[in-house]
């Protein structure tokens, strides 16, 4: 059953969003990007200012000129799994899971039978008699998954379900979700690229309440067009205009910049403004023609750091100012605004790098991918 929504919530969200039947969509984005607002609108916990929400041929919400429609949350067939399990503390695990079938009119005995089936599905049958207060975070979240599934929702919403779990419980739940989300229409809001990779068919990147990027997971992470997706993919990203050799960098650090209201791009001014007008040479896929808007992406590991402009080779040389130095996978990550370079501790010590220092980020043309934005 296809879910379609077009919604405007003043100052928080303005997006068109669809979930195909059986598809799992990951919604990514920085804090305050409107991810939770999107879920609240879908679940019916928030009424948008305008737009429409449909699930299959059912109109869940509509406000468009003279047409008005509203289906309250409990009649939508849309279940919500939050960051915290929010199991009802006064009910046993079994009765928590039996809550939805009971609300749907099943008898107490039948609803408990249904609950047992879903608890078995999430490997939590042994927890049946416990109280929510006696569960670990991971156990509680597994029970919450069973409780949401027992509602047999046509659309399942997951709001950062792994965020509150410790690092040992998260992988377990992720595997469980992979199993139960297969073939289900679901939306998962997450900060974690691993969730998107493992669970989602498609990725939507929200920023400033708007969708700045969407597509298959591999496409978005392999060829990010927004600063946020580039960050998730671990790539440096510069936006500008495609040229014959590569890219002419424009003001801001990323293609997503146009849609962003400035908050999430703090720090770009250091590198971004000074790089504006810089020409980058790189390898183009040939799809984007010269003159079109495009981005250049390159991994931090391909960047070397120099104190002076190196001579000779056909390499890109970007004048930047170091903003931070941090340990990263056995080496040092040198940050200059939105850009990063990974170098060895020895190299860092030899160069005497420290924040505030002007340096040159140098990257080979062969390492720079240029494609249309």
């Amino acid at each position: 059953m296809t879910f379609r929504m077009t919604a405007r919530v003043h100052g928080r969200l303005e997006a068109e969003f669809t979930v195909a039947a059986g598809e799992t969509v990951a919604v990514l984005g920085p804090n305050g990007a409107g991810k939770s607002t999107l879920l609240a609108v879908a679940a019916g916990l928030l009424r948008p200012d305008a737009g429409s929400v449909r699930l299959g041929d059912k109109v869940l919400f509509e406000r468009d000129g003279s047409r008005h429609g509203w289906v309250p949350p409990h009649l939508r067939g849309v279940a919500l799994l939050a960051q915290e399990a929010l199991l009802f503390p006064h009910l046993s695990v079994l009765d928590n899971v039996a809550f939805a079938p009971r609300s749907a009119g099943q008898s107490r005995a039948t609803s408990r039978e249904t609950a047992r089936r879903w608890l078995a599905e999430v490997d939590a049958l042994d927890l049946t008699a416990r109280r929510p207060g006696q569960l670990s975070g991971g156990q509680a979240q597994r029970v919450a998954v069973a409780r949401a599934l027992a509602a047999e929702p046509e659309l399942l919403l997951l709001d950062e379900p792994m965020a509150a779990l410790d690092i040992h419980a998260a992988p377990h739940l992720r595997r469980l979700l992979k199993r139960v989300l297969a073939g289900r229409s679901a939306v998962i809001v997450t900060h974690d690229v691993l969730d998107a990779l493992m669970l989602a068919d498609r990725v939507v990147v929200l920023d400033g309440g708007r969708i700045v990027e969407e597509g298959p997971v591999r496409g978005v992470l392999g060829r990010p067009r927004s600063a946020f997706a580039a960050g998730l993919a671990g790539l440096n990203l510069l936006a500008g205009t495609v040229t014959a050799e590569g890219l002419l960098v424009s003001g801001s650090g990323a293609a997503g910049g146009q849609a962003v209201s400035g908050t999430s791009l703090s720090g770009t001014s250091l590198s971004g403004t000074s790089l504006s007008g810089t020409s980058l040479s790189g390898t183009s896929d040939g799809e984007a023609a010269a003159g079109e808007p495009g981005v250049a992406a390159f991994p931090p590991s391909a960047v070397s750091v120099f104190l002076e402009v190196p001579h000779g080779s056909p390499r890109n040389c970007l004048p930047v100012v170091i903003t931070e130095l941090e340990p990263h996978a056995g080496g040092i990550r040198v940050r200059a605004g939105e850009l990063a370079a990974d170098i060895t501790p020895a190299a860092s010590a030899e160069l005497g790098l420290e924040p505030g220092m002007p340096v040159f980020f140098v990257v080979k043309s062969a390492e720079v991918q240029v494609y249309g934005a």
Binding site: H74, A79, L86, F99, S103, L157
Partner: protein, 283 residues
Amino acid sequence: MTPSPDASPAGSPGASPVGGGHGYSGVPRWLYLPAAAGALFVMLPLVAMLVKVNWGQFIPLVTSAASLDALGLSLRTSAASTVVCLVFGVPLAMVLARRPFRGQRLLRAFVLLPLVLPPVVGGIALLYTFGRQGLLGKSLELAGVQIAFSTTAVVLAQAFVALPFLVVSLEGSLRTAGKRYEAVAATLGAGPTTVLRRVTLPLVMPGLVSGAVLSFARSLGEFGATLTFAGSLQGVTRTLPLEIYLEREADADAAVALSLLLVAVAVAVVGLSYRKPGRQVAA
């Protein structure tokens, strides 16, 4: 800080009634003096009363017909007024805690007014509402219903002064519990009435119980509004506080004995409510 030799390392902070070596308390020493004075101020009058009790005559005094009438009436009317408070107070608290609307602050102010209003004023107000010449009383009179100076009037007077206790207590619990559980319940397919019955009320049950107990206790002690609106008829409207006031003139020993009885009932009620409420059994 000097290490104290008798500090037990294994004790939890709560396990040390004397204080001393167990973590920072944030209570300045001099604060204990006014605190002790305050405690004395509350306890000393009760002790003074205990001293005055004529123990030899205690049983006959509290089991006289008038006393038993008054005690029975007090318990019955207080129970009834607690029910009235629940019936109106739970919806009021829900409306105040859950849905912002125009005039909400004003409504809350009016609901809380009886807390600070002299009860005798409340009694007069009730008289002009339900009395024979009152706003509603006239129509009720035509319908053959007389409220003023009846047991019903006692219940209304008590409910009038006790309602704010329930509303305040429950509204606080509702706000603390938040709406997140209710939102989850709704997305699981539970309609608003089911959510109220199976999620909201069980979650705030401790607040509801303590609110109801406070209302009961306030009803039990109600005097001014009852006397004004319901009068003092033995067995009909003369509750225990009224009986005590009356006996104070005639028979001081009886007044003291009945006072002690009222204190005992009040202590029992409050003691019960501040015990940790047991777990709610699933419906």
